[in-house]
Symmetry: C2
């Protein structure tokens, strides 16, 4: 990649893009040259959207997910079941669960997962806020919907311990063979768990 | 990719990133989440750099390359040889040639290459401006440094024809086996050309 730029502004723009994860200097240069060919109004909107996002972003005071308003759409939807809370790592996971259209309760976004390697402990997450909600006594079930990694399991276990004194069900997502998976290539732990947790066969399709 | 966003601002930012070439919606989402974790001042600078680049960018009135000033650094450098002009497609190519430190003349940026498929004809490029420079009579040599593609060859040929009435040398980059290339894997056209254009062996290294 040539090191000397004919324009300081060009160089700065390339540096900014290259500072994003997964974008190298060649790609950054290509993106900047693309923006230069685009309509000036479009590029201004691009720049302003980014600036505005970071400055005006707010987090829902109830579920702690990203929101445009102090209380997000889901938390302010009175038709949802307020006695079930699905605990997720981040807002992407809220969107993933929402997309299934199988859940009508509320969410609680932890803002991360316990990971000693990355220096993230329980106090960096919104676990205390979750306990406060539980203490109010109206919640009947907490669904732990974290990734099935070691960090996810650790976080699940920590939350389970914290909530063990309260009168409520703590559940976790079913583990098993994913729809469309070929048995031969399924890892042995998943397959083992799915045998231990086998269930009565039903004629109703799993895919509905 | 989940389709329903919890925040309009988030959705807009993802859409903006996803409109860039080679960036899909998943990557766009990842970049936006990264920006949300970054310092607010840094993100503002990012947004402003992009907006400013497109609005304040200017093109050198002599070589037509991207520049911060009406005449770029290279064109205003009085120590450079003003009788030799290297014709390139775009500013990346100016940087590539500059990086070799083998050229001390001036540049002329075409702003593209003749490509009927993309609807780019000679009138979309700065070829007339090049002819005007040549007409002044102080230029002794034009080096055609375009890509060795069909479009590059077409453009070379068109410029060569346009300049054929003037008293000057028109040269092109040497074609041949690249330094470090393994002969077995060199394409037959390049290899054939490099045999036809063979030159006396010299003990001086090619790599200097």
């Amino acid at each position: 990649m040539p090191s000397r730029f004919p324009s300081k502004m060009l160089e700065e723009a390339v540096n900014e893009f290259a500072s994003l994860p997964g974008i190298g200097r060649k790609t950054a240069f290509r993106l900047v040259m693309h923006l230069l060919r685009r309509d000036s109004g479009e590029v201004r909107r691009f720049g302003e959207t980014i600036t505005r996002l970071r400055e005006d972003v707010c987090y829902c005071s109830i579920c702690h997910g990203i929101s445009d308003t102090p209380v997000c759409e889901i938390c302010s939807d009175q038709s949802r079941d307020r006695s079930v809370i699905c605990v997720v790592e981040n807002v992407q996971d809220v969107m993933a669960v929402e997309n299934t259209r199988q859940f009508r309760g509320l969410y609680h976004v932890l803002g991360g997962i316990i990971s000693p390697v990355d220096g993230i402990g329980p106090s960096d997450l919104t676990i205390t806020k979750l306990e406060e909600k539980v203490r109010e006594g109206t919640i009947k079930e907490i669904i732990l919907a974290l990734s099935t990694t070691m960090e996810g399991d650790t976080t699940n276990f920590y939350i389970f311990k914290r909530l063990s004194g309260y009168d409520l069900r703590v559940t976790t997502l079913a583990r098993g063979v994913a729809i469309g998976d070929i048995l031969e290539y399924t890892d042995e732990i998943t397959l083992g768990q799915s045998i231990l947790n086998r269930r009565p066969f039903s004629l109703q399709s799993d895919r509905s």
